[in-house]
Symmetry: C2
Amino acid sequence: MTSSSIAGVRVLAFDTFGTVTDWFTGISSVVQTTVPDVDAGAFARDWRRRYAPALARVESGEWGWRRLDELQTDTLHGVAKAFGVTLTDDETETLVRAWRTIPGWPDAAPGIRRLKRDFIVCALSNGSVALLTDMAKHNGFDWDVIGGSDLWHHYKPARETYCGLADLLEVEPGRVMMVATHQSDLDAARSFGLRTAFVERPLEWGPDAGPDRKDDTGSPENDIHATDLTDLAEQLGCSGQRSVSST
Amino acid sequence: MTSSSIAGVRVLAFDTFGTVTDWFTGISSVVQTTVPDVDAGAFARDWRRRYAPALARVESGEWGWRRLDELQTDTLHGVAKAFGVTLTDDETETLVRAWRTIPGWPDAAPGIRRLKRDFIVCALSNGSVALLTDMAKHNGFDWDVIGGSDLWHHYKPARETYCGLADLLEVEPGRVMMVATHQSDLDAARSFGLRTAFVERPLEWGPDAGPDRKDDTGSPENDIHATDLTDLAEQLGCSGQRSVSST
């Protein structure tokens, strides 16, 4: 990365599930207490695998607009069936709402706070604004702006989400840098004119995930490749440790 | 106010121009340096008086959707004409953008930070998300969610703004409390099912404003009448002084 390539960046747009939060630990732990008879890690991974295809059915037009919670409820029933269990309504709600309180990676909250001094820091996620607000309050993510999919009635990697955030912030797409641990997210962002930063999250799919990680090691086309948000802040030249919002 | 009337409140939605920021001081000071030959206070007040009628032309359908900056540019030209001055494009932009950096009232940033511990704190303003983001970063307003008029393409007191915020946060309108120093804003909010808190800002129109304040002393129908955000936090039972977002 050359410094000129990020000279105009004013906005950092963060993916949330996997990039700033550890969904595997959060979801598998709720699965373990809610559905104790299944392999919790395998259950969590299967559920997560069904996520992108469900969003794609909305973006293809096969389904009308639905919030993420509704899609997650639908895919959860499919996972439960595959694991031979039947969930009550209460168990279903507990599991679907568990995505609102998945833990942040240790570097996430302090990293966001540090980056906020020099950039407009935003969530740009397929979660709803309400879900992302709960996640932010649970983890101390001090977003400036929460870009939830319900603002645009579209899911990433649709153009409307990336360019919708730029439009909302009244900047050109080239002044927005997408930050994610999923190369497909960054490839889409770049195709619409955004800058890209890949963040390594080798444990996203759990310690024994195996081939699920195969595509997510980053691409040389990204403007930045960072090991975590502390490294991202260093590479972006954020020298300070203190947040402007702390008093 | 009885404690039962606010038992279910989860979201505080703040008006911004006047309620958390001192537009009179901010705008009149930029007018003074940009258009030194006019009475800066009178100019600022005249501009502000033309604000609500301009929004109403959008809500009536007379004009299509326009962001606040565009409306403010239009009304600014009217004020300049009334004061017998001609503004260059640069001067116009300086004045219109001055609304992004008007100062917060001294109690605002610490009050928002304290209330954030127990509530979801939101801006619910006729400014755009970008304008409100600039205002927040300039003043250290740690909003959880920024509800700008461009999210709904409607201006307060339209139903779509108040109910739009409740919908975005996935709560019933009765779980949202509108906080404002303008009774008309609170009356509208209440008519759509929101709770209301009036905040006194006797200096909103400047120290020698006179009759401009006549309607804004609050109504007995409000759930809360507060002298400032510190008093609001006390009345809402927020005992702590420390923000959850400070480390």
